[in-house]
């Protein structure tokens, strides 16, 4: 296959950026080099250096000169946040928006695999996918397992639920495996029973995410030419957040594209914070030729100095953003006052910034760990600081099978514009689940909510009533605020769907379908505000989002509070890094992997804010001498009584 001519970007093309990306500067040499790079290259970019923006800018420039009608650019991003950011920027420009559709691709590696390999393969095998969701699979598989021939054997397994729940196909030959434990030998009856559970659910269109990778590999094996076709279709591959690519994903990417494809990978090895069990040494990012982007435009020199103390490798980050008048701050709390840390942080933010500055800016409290049960003093994970954080209290509920979970308010409701479409899709799914569970004949064999719509229209039913119901539920807020309020959901749907239900089905029966069940919650209020803390003082109010560091990758905040946590290393992260933060020590290259990983988490968390960086640790674990040194280095230390 002939090498395709990629558009050659020249200096004069960069002039167009001034019009399309008014708020960004691309004037320095490092960024210019990255923008003009025309061949395979790795871009190593510091946090806040505008990696995603520059990727979007580059895509915009390429789109202006892109002439192929059936060949496109493939952009792989690891988070939907980054994807949305790229899409938002491109959509704002006329020419750039062309990249959002055929023949181009912008999305996660999972969606790429699904769209180009797994789903075409499954469709060719005659399988219609109903749902790809680990939780749903786990529930359904366990229900079937209890009635299967494997039930007896499973009773004696301590990890039976996980073993069954994580059954997946692996490798090109779709070998049955489980992430939840060891399976019996393939010749045994138990294995065969488990295999038939898996195969049954597959024919029913219910899969785990890993299955898609297996079906992709399966296609690559049965039709090896797919690799050349993909490479032909996408002569240019750009990967954002390359550091988050796992060894399996990198290997798979290698099998998807041949060496004719120009690959430009953007990332920051210092932000690699997933825990890969093996083979991290085989990861190739960054490899030569490398173009660096060292300067962070997010924060100034003051924050950069703090961040670089936990930077594991590479040239130290340069703080090229506006300098902040606010010193980095360490909160010391007592074991008893751990729950007051976030509020104290909120008060500091309110003191430091006027409402004008705060308007629309994000304030976050982040922590490396979601939960854990280490026998240690408070400060182990988010739940220590913010007890309502944990999701899905009570029995485990598959998010995609529960109307309650599906219809909860989007955390962004009222904060920024959100697409109604996502919510509408969820409502349609609830309708399908309800009809299915009510054994309405119309839902028989229907997997895709859009097909349900077609089926309903084919009945004599008046669609306008149903459409109004969809609208009503889509626009309703706080449906999950109380069991009282929740009643409205089955009621509304029952009225709308009654013509499709059997005569015996009454409102009570309908409302008691599994899909409408309220996840068991001791305290209903706990379901509220799991992700945010509102601090009110006098007539001022501040909203602090609470989240894990992993979920906030790539974000920019006005102020960020990094909460101490207890990690796999059997150490507290901030306590363990005191000497680094104070400048007493630098990172020893021989440090254990698990500790290095904690440094990287801190690095990611600490490099979010533009103005005010805060850390929080238990006073018990603070070293007096390091505190003195920290303060000498410009840190402020505050105590939470």
């Amino acid at each position: 296959m002939a090498l395709v001519n990629l558009p050659k970007l020249e200096d004069e093309d960069l002039d167009h950026l001034a019009e399309a990306f008014v708020d960004l500067r691309f004037d320095d040499e490092e960024r210019r080099m990255v923008l003009l790079a025309n061949s395979t290259v790795d871009v190593h970019a510091a946090p806040g250096s505008g990696k995603t923006s520059i990727l979007a800018a580059k895509l915009y420039l390429l789109s202006r000169k892109w002439t192929h009608t059936h060949r496109g650019i493939c952009v792989i991003s690891h988070t939907n946040v980054a994807r949305e950011e790229i899409c938002r920027r491109l959509a704002a420009t006329g020419e750039g928006s062309r990249l959002l559709s055929y023949p181009h691709f912008i999305g996660t590696i999972h969606s790429f695999i699904n769209r180009f390999l797994a789903l075409p393969n499954l469709n060719s095998l005659g399988i219609v996918v109903d749902i790809i969701d680990n939780d749903v699979f786990e529930l359904r598989a366990n229900v079937r397992a209890r009635r299967s021939k494997a039930a007896g054997w499973l009773k004696n397994q301590h990890n039976a639920d996980k073993l069954v729940g994580e059954l997946h196909y692996s490798g090109p030959d779709l070998v049955l495996s489980s992430g939840g434990g060891k399976l019996p030998g393939p010749h045994t009856d138990t294995f065969k029973a488990l295999a038939s559970i898996k195969d049954y659910l597959a024919s029913d269109g219910c899969f785990r995410f890993e299955d898609m990778f297996a079906f992709a590999e399966n296609l690559l094996k049965s039709s090896p030419c797919v690799r050349d076709r993909l490479s032909h279709r996408f002569p240019l591959l750009m990967i954002d957040e390359m550091q988050d690519t796992s060894i399996e994903q990198e290997r798979l990417l290698g099998t998807l594209f041949n060496d004719q494809v120009v690959q430009q990978r953007f990332g920051d090895i210092n932000q690699r914070i997933f825990s890969d069990k093996e083979g991290t040494a085989a990861l190739t990012f960054p490899r030569h030729p490398i173009l660096p982007m060292r300067a962070s435009r997010r924060f100034g020199e003051r924050i950069a100095r703090a961040v670089m103390t936990v930077q594991v490798s590479g040239d130290p980050v340069i703080g090229d953003g506006p300098n902040s008048p606010h010193p980095p701050t360490l909160f010391l709390y007592e074991t008893d006052s751990v729950a007051k840390v976030i509020e104290a942080f909120g008060n500091l933010v309110l003191d430091s910034f006027s409402d004008d500055v705060l308007n629309g800016k994000r304030i976050l409290a982040v922590c490396a760990r979601r939960d854990g049960n280490a026998n240690q003093d408070a400060g182990r994970h988010i739940a220590d600081y913010w007890p309502t954080f944990k999701e899905g209290v009570g029995p485990k509920v598959a998010r995609e099978e529960s109307a309650w979970m599906l219809l909860r308010d989007d955390p962004n409701t009222g904060v920024k514009p959100i697409l109604v479409r996502e919510r509408a899709d969820k409502i349609k799914r609830v309708v399908l689940l309800a009809l299915r569970q009510a054994q309405a004949p119309i839902a028989k064999g229907i997997r895709d909510p859009s097909r349900l719509g077609r089926a309903i229209r084919e009945t004599e039913m008046d669609m306008t009533t149903l459409a109004k119901t969809y609208r009503q539920l889509a626009l309703a807020k706080n449906l999950t605020s109380s069991a009282q309020r929740w009643r409205i959901v089955p009621q509304t749907l029952f009225t709308a769907l009654q013509p499709l239900l059997s005569a015996e089905m009454g409102l009570e029966g309908f409302a008691s379908l599994d899909v409408f069940a309220i996840p068991d919650m001791k305290d209903e209020a706990r379901a509220l505000n799991v992700h945010e803390c509102i601090v009110v003082r006098n007539d001022r109010q501040l909203r602090i989002e609470v989240n894990t560091i992993g979920m906030t990758k790539g974000e920019t905040h006005l102020s960020t509070l990094v909460l101490e946590s207890f990690g796999m290393s059997k150490q507290f992260d901030i306590a363990g890094a005191q000497a680094l933060l104070s400048g007493a020590q630098t990172i020893d290259a021989k440090t254990r992997d698990t500790i290095m990983n904690q440094y990287r988490y801190l690095y990611v968390g600490m490099s979010r804010p533009t103005q005010l960086l805060c850390l929080a640790m238990n006073a018990k674990r603070a070293s007096e001498s390091e505190l003195v040194r920290l303060q000498a280095n410009g840190w402020r230390v505050l105590r939470v009584p």
Partner: protein, 647 residues
Amino acid sequence: MHLHRIKAENFRIFGDGKSAPVLDWELAPSLNILVGENDAGKSAIIDAIRQVLWTTSFEIVRLSEQDFHLTKVDRSQSMVIEATLRGLSEDQEAAALEWLTYEANGSRSLTLHLQARWIAPHGKRRGRVEWQIRSGTGGIGPEIGSTVREMVRSTYLRPLRDAEAELKPGRASRLSQILGAHQAISGQEINDFDVTNPTQIPKNLVGLMALAQHHMGQHEVIQAVQNGINNNYLEKLAFTGDTLSSRIRLATELALTPILEKFELTLVPPASTHSDARCNRGLGYNNVLFMATELVLLREGEDLGLLLIEEPEAHLHPQLQDRVMDLLTANAGAADKDNPVQVVLTTHSPSLVAGADLESMTLVVRGNTYRLAKGHTRLELSDYAYLRRFLEATRANLFFARGVAIVEGPGETLLLPALAKHCGRSFSRYGISVVNVGDVGLYHYARILQRSDEKVTIDVPVACITDRDVVPNEANYVTKPKKGKRFDNDYDPKELEALIERKRARAAGGSTKVFVSDRWTLEFDMALAGCAELMYIAIQLAIQDKASAGALSDNDYEAALADLKTGWPAFAAAAASPLMLAVNIYEPLYEKDASKAVTAQYAARLLETGSFGNGDVLFAMLPEYLQEALTHLTSPASVDPAAAAVA
């Protein structure tokens, strides 16, 4: 890339497989000819393809209420059309990756599945059609975007097209598309005309236009009119500070496309006419020109090279039809070409069919499609080449018939339609063709209408009518052969049965039945059955005809007829038995004193007079095997209102 298969359910004539057949047609990658009577579904197949693939002529292809199949009871509410494309190039596969189907045999295909629903009007809302195109068999894949659908447009030539208008210059004219698609066109958009050196002739098209514009623009007439408009009117209309002036130009824009759109394709006038005169060459030749144009465009293209032609015979005389067929055959599917063109055409022209390869033909009968290629019919492979030569225009009309009588001689060819007509079973009313295969034994070509899959029967009754050829012992004018069997008493009943069975087995099957004469030949058996007088007079007239060298005048005919009628009772009485009478009547034919063809003509003429029986009376006088043959071809008799009236 080529269209491999088209399926349709509840589209027009095609039903859901219960009350009416579904469409499920596999195409050859090269030439495909749809033959069959009117209303059989040929155009519906072409339209199904156009609905799912769109066409390059950018006409509006839209489903309407009438496109939904109408059953006896009511109109279907939903329909499905599915097209499967195979043989995609690497480029095409790469472009359509997310919609491809990976076949079990390792190949890849692209299936477009159109689902449409008719939503009846209710209240203030108008009725409308909702549709969606998804990929994959049964439409289980994702929706297909328009960019990919652009890739799979077909080229459609409508029936009775106005070829001249299609070749006229204008925006997006076909000719401009062909010129624009030529590989040497790039660079022609550069204006290489040098204003400072206006006598230098440029090389590029745009430069040439600039040159013409420059020189013509300076022509005194052009200048005078232009100045007149500007100075006398526009200047006075302009507001202060604005200038308003005009210019007269050949092309408003000096770009390539407007230039290409100015070109017109016409045939060179015949030699007798001045070469610059505008001379219309008639619809036929313009049509040929148009088809040639489309073929060029398809051959240059990168996308789906699918040409749909309805009735290419329009406006063409039979010989030109032959040439067109040759052209299409030569261009379709040629494996040595980079972009083989696939052609699907419908026709009502026996000439066109006669010029085509059976391999490429598909018979369409009441919504059923039957490919006639090797392996699909019960015809032996070795018979195909022979049949190809054999199928000239008159025989090829068997593909358009509702019933076929295959006969072995001119006697049957001429006499059968006359007999059928006077029995109230007119062949033309029933749409029945008579095919004379001439030689004895060739009627097994009727197997072209039998399917290799024995469960499938083409719903076209075929009657092969043949002679038993066993001479009655009483016919002493027939010499006994030295070897072999000839006479009644040469055969025992078992042997006779075997003889008849052999003749049957040669062709019978499906809707084809073989009717073997009851004794000897058609004429003998007629005479033996109830038509002795008719045959006697006809044969005697044929003798006189021969004597007068085929120029029996009307007066002579009337006189001879009167004589024969008078003489008939005595001739009939002289024979010892009806059998002897038939033997006597037949003798002149055997002795070649009279021609069978001429006899048949006279018999037909005699039947016209009505004095030899009509309707069921005549029918009852026919030999049994003819009665059976006519019944097979024309049942149920109630179909024909005229037949019902006679009965």
